[in-house]
């Protein structure tokens, strides 16, 4: 299968791979997907006092498109408010990475990962 240049770039040079301290109240962690389906994304956000996402990290088990989708969204959500980050749609991700139809679920998973991380942060902070 031929991948777009952007997918290859994110796969070979993934942005923001790593982990933030799950125990930190300022960190929200989203874990989505399932090993049996071949995709698991863990996306973490760290929210600053100004309410902006100051850091984002990910780890992904999945195909190149899944890795690229999660890498891309960590770039996009940094510096955004939670509402702005939550507004990111999978179609934007799919379009940016030129994902073929069979890989659209990777972008859906990345959108879900953002929402899950935000929900975890809000739960911790009763926001």
């Amino acid at each position: 299968m031929a991948y777009s240049g952007k997918v290859v770039d994110h796969y070979e040079n993934p942005r923001n791979v790593g982990a933030l301290d799950k125990g930190d109240d300022n960190v929200g962690t989203g874990l989505v997907g399932a090993p049996a389906c071949g995709d698991v994304m863990k996306l973490q956000i760290k929210v600053g006092v100004d309410g902006l996402i100051e850091d984002a990290k990910f780890k992904t088990f999945g195909c190149g498109s899944a890795i690229a989708s999660s890498s891309l969204v960590t770039e996009w959500i940094k510096g955004k408010t939670l509402d702005e980050a939550a507004a990111i749609k999978n179609t934007q991700i799919a379009e940016e990475l030129a994902l073929p139809p069979v890989k659209i679920h990777c972008s859906v998973l990345a959108e879900d990962a953002i929402k899950a991380a935000i929900a975890d942060y809000k739960k911790k902070n009763n926001a």
């Binding site: 299968m1 031929a2 991948y3 290859v8 796969y11 993934p14 791979v17 982990a19 874990l31 989505v32 997907g33 399932a34 090993p35 049996a36 389906c37 071949g38 995709d39 698991v40 994304m41 863990k42 780890k59 992904t60 088990f61 999945g62 195909c63 190149g64 899944a66 890795i67 069979v102 679920h105 859906v108 998973l109």
Partner: protein
């Protein structure tokens, strides 16, 4: 795509070894130069129709075809008259299974096969089911092999044919062919084996193994694509089958159509070389396979070999790299041409049905790569593959949330996953 191809070609020119390294010998094999040399005269110079009886063009083509037929027969211990040429193993499998089932349909309506057979066998059986036949799909154990007692219990008075592959294309395990042959002969049921992955790899003898029909492929044994053969037993017992299509009645009426002389010569030459070189080749490939597995496991924990450890051909290693997804690994090891057990490479999201059948969990099935070693694989290619695999598995594990959890001692099965 053109850009990717040209980049790959440039990479070939830059390094001493040609990349991508070809480790997909179960998918197909390059032709042996010696095979091509024997084929070439039959394209232009000796182009006759082997069925033409009235002139020398036909006679020389017929002679070449009959020599090839004898060479194919020799590698499986058959009589040349029992070998018919087809377009490949897919046609041979269709002809064997549907042909026998259809011929005996007035008396028998049951077929037995195995859940891990090649798609063309399973699809032929599904087609028979739609026509009203009953089909039993035998399960396999975690080693990929059938249970002979389960086979015995599955055969009924209504069974016309049992079809069990000799060597599995995905995991390389060898089914107990001689034992199956003995059971089928005793029960008066025809035994067909798809030997596309077995010919030239393991010794086969249709008499000793009591095989009644056997499918052979040209391009899996360093011969040309587009040609195969079907062994059809002539006596004790004589196998009768209904042809798939109508025509001039060539190949004892079982397979009409003018024989492609160069292709027949090619599969014959490939069989002759394979027969002569099998013992030394098998030993050499075994050493290379051991080198690959030992090299990978020396630095990477949690690498699993799928299928029986002992009862396998040495040229096939199907490995699961836990916590790494197969397609992303393929993308990383693009300098190695292999196949993935992960179906993410196809349109469906289901992992390999063969790996599922042997009880490999879905999460591990998604992490599987099939390495196929063959006649032209070198030690330096294996060393390059080991180095590449080690690097990329380590990198992908470092970015895998499942690997992180495993290192933290979290059982990933204990997590309530949201399956999509």
């Amino acid at each position: 795509m053109d850009k990717q191809v040209s980049e790959a070609m440039n990479a070939r020119n830059r390094t001493n070894i040609k990349v991508p390294i070809y480790l997909d010998y179960q998918a197909t094999t390059p032709m042996d130069q010696r095979v091509l040399d024997r084929m070439l005269p039959y394209f232009i110079e000796k182009f006759g129709n082997p069925h033409s009886r009235s002139h020398a063009y036909g006679w020389e083509a017929e002679e070449a075809v009959e020599t090839a037929r004898a060479e194919v027969a020799a590698i499986i211990g058959a009589d040349p008259r029992e070998v018919i040429f087809t377009s490949g193993a897919t046609e041979s499998n269709n002809l064997a299974i549907k042909g026998v089932a259809h011929f005996f349909k007035d008396r028998k309506n049951h077929v037995v096969t195995v859940s891990t057979e090649h798609k063309c066998v399973l699809d032929s059986c599904r087609h028979l089911e739609q026509e009203g036949f009953a089909v039993t799909y035998l399960p396999v154990g975690t080693n990929g092999l059938i249970d002979l007692d389960v086979l015995k219990a599955a055969i009924t008075d209504q069974t016309s044919i049992v079809s069990v592959m000799a060597v599995n294309n995905e995991i390389g395990v060898i089914q107990p062919i001689a034992e199956i042959g003995a059971i089928c002969r005793e029960r008066g049921v025809f035994f067909h084996t798809d030997a596309a992955q077995a010919v030239g790899k393991i010794p086969l003898d249709v008499e000793a193994m009591k095989i009644d029909l056997m499918s052979i492929s040209g391009h899996k044994i360093y011969g040309p694509k587009g040609v195969g053969a079907l062994f059809v037993r002539r006596r004790k017992p004589r196998v009768r089958l209904e042809a798939l299509f109508n025509g001039g009645g060539q190949e004892r009426g079982m397979r009409s159509g003018t024989l492609p002389t160069p292709l027949c010569v090619g599969i014959g030459a490939a069989c002759a070389i394979a027969k002569a070189e099998m013992p030394t080749e098998a030993e050499r490939i075994r050493r290379l396979g051991d080198r690959l597995l030992t090299g990978i496991r020396a630095e990477l924990p949690e690498v699993f070999l799928n299928g029986d450890v002992e009862r396998r051909i040495p040229g096939n290693l199907n490995l699961s790299f836990a916590y790494v997804e197969g397609e992303s690994l393929l993308m990383g090891i693009k300098d190695i041409a292999v196949s993935s057990g992960s179906a993410c490479t196809s349109a469906s999201l289901e992992p390999s049905y063969v790996l599922r059948a042997i009880g490999v969990g879905e999460e591990l099935a998604h992490t599987s790569i099939r390495f196929g070693i063959g006649r032209f694989t070198t030690e330096s290619e294996i060393d390059f593959a080991v180095k590449t695999i080690r690097e990329h598995v380590a990198r992908l594990r470092s970015m895998s949330p499942l690997w992180e959890m495993a290192q933290e001692g979290i059982d990933i099965k204990s997590i309530k996953w949201n399956e999509h």
